[in-house]
């Protein structure tokens, strides 16, 4: 059985998303749903409610410590952003955190992904993107294909990680050589199974390329740059040793001003330290 078949088979066995996420998704299908109704659904799960409030109060949302209730969180951040926070918190718990291969730990990969989520949102905010609700989540799940590999084909993935060191090549190149499929495609397969919006599926599939077949997408471009920035700042681990060069065309899509990265660095690192505590260790 080839790797793609193994992944497809195992994706179906993967633990489903928690009830709270499906209940919220179901409730949101009703165009007349009220914040009170959603708030009641979320509040049934007290542990999730506590974490949602912690994330909603993260500095990168700009409401540091001002959101006290789930109703307020819905009011300030909107239905979709809250749904995405629930998704992000759920997905972190679906994959095992103890599958360590050659010192590469899932929690280190999650730390990198959280850094990319925060940076992607900071970039989205800076470029004046008005529909920001997918920016944090896109960063959180961009490397989810690597978690599938760690979970379901640990032996083969160990060979990939060894090849990265031996050849000093990118992880994507090593994945193609050993597995015949890269983590971008594997992640997109999972995102499709979870029926995530096409914008998020594209962000997973094209985050290394930076572009989708020469079409410009601000979301893909933001994840692409955030991924490189977080690797350069050495926040978390990706399994890669090399820091890739950005796709030059992406700069024309984002048009980030001179001094942008320097001005967000301090905030990024502070938000990163706070958010990994909430999402990974509380």
């Amino acid at each position: 059985m080839n790797v793609l078949d193994k992944i497809l088979q195992n994706v179906n066995k993967l633990q489903t998303l928690p009830t709270i996420y499906s209940s919220i998704s179901e409730a949101l299908k009703d165009p007349l749903v009220t914040p009170e109704k959603l708030s009641r659904i979320i509040s049934i799960d007290q542990v999730s409610s506590f974490k949602i409030l912690k994330v909603a109060n993260s500095p990168f949302y700009g409401f540091r410590g001002r959101i006290d209730t789930i109703s307020q969180a819905i009011l300030y951040l909107g239905f979709d952003e809250i749904k995405n926070i629930i998704f992000a918190l759920s997905v972190v718990n679906i994959f095992a955190k103890d599958k360590i291969i050659l010192n590469f730990k899932p929690t280190d990969l999650w730390a990198h992904s959280i850094g990319v989520g925060i940076s992607t949102r900071l970039i989205g905010t800076a470029i004046g993107e008005k529909e920001l609700e997918n920016y944090f989540l896109a960063g959180i799940i961009h490397d989810i294909g690597k978690l599938l590999f760690l979970e379901f084909i640990p032996g083969d993935y160990e060979k990939v990680l060894k090849l990265v060191i031996e050849k000093n090549c990118s992880i994507e190149e090593a994945e193609i050589e050993i597995l015949g499929i890269n983590h971008c495609k594997a992640g997109q397969i999972l995102a499709e199974k979870w029926k995530l919006p096409s914008g998020l599926q594209d962000a997973i599939l094209y985050h290394h390329a930076g572009l989708k077949e020469n079409q410009s997408s601000k979301l893909i471009a933001s994840v692409h740059i955030a991924d490189i920035l977080v690797a350069a700042l050495d926040l978390g681990r990706t399994g890669d040793y090399l820091i890739p060069q950005p796709n030059f065309k992406v700069w024309d899509i984002l048009k980030l001003p001179n001094g942008f990265f320097i001005s967000i660095k301090k905030k990024l690192i502070e938000d990163f330290n706070q958010t990994i505590r909430v999402m990974l260790y509380q």
Binding site: F260, I262, S263
Partner: protein, 106 residues
């Protein structure tokens, strides 16, 4: 050089480097306005999460000796093998170098 500041970091007296516009492109606050505490709540109500302000205070960066910088550059060259082509890429390179220098100091 204009600097991006997120709403929770706004301080009284910061001066807008570019106008604040709403999603329809209408100017809500003009360039050169000195921000006051009340502007923070107004911006939040408008759903604006960041603004560009004039950079009056340069962040003081830690100074490192030449050997430390040269060693860090050699180390970084093994992970970051490309040459920067614009100011954005130069900034990413410099941030990577400064974080590496700080790590080496520990």
């Amino acid at each position: 050089m204009p600097k991006i500041v997120f709403i929770d970091e706004l301080k009284e007296g910061m001066e807008l480097a570019t106008p604040v516009k709403n999603k329809f492109g209408q100017v809500m606050l003009a360039e050169n306005i000195k921000l006051e505490e009340r502007h923070k709540n107004i911006l939040m109500l408008w759903g604006i999460q960041s603004v560009y302000v004039k950079d009056s205070e340069e962040e003081s960066e830690q100074l490192f000796d030449e050997d430390a910088v040269s060693n860090a550059k050699d180390q970084l060259k093994k992970r970051l093998t490309w040459n920067f082509r614009n100011f954005n890429e130069e900034e990413i390179y410099n941030l990577a170098l400064s974080e590496l220098l700080k790590k080496n100091m520990k």
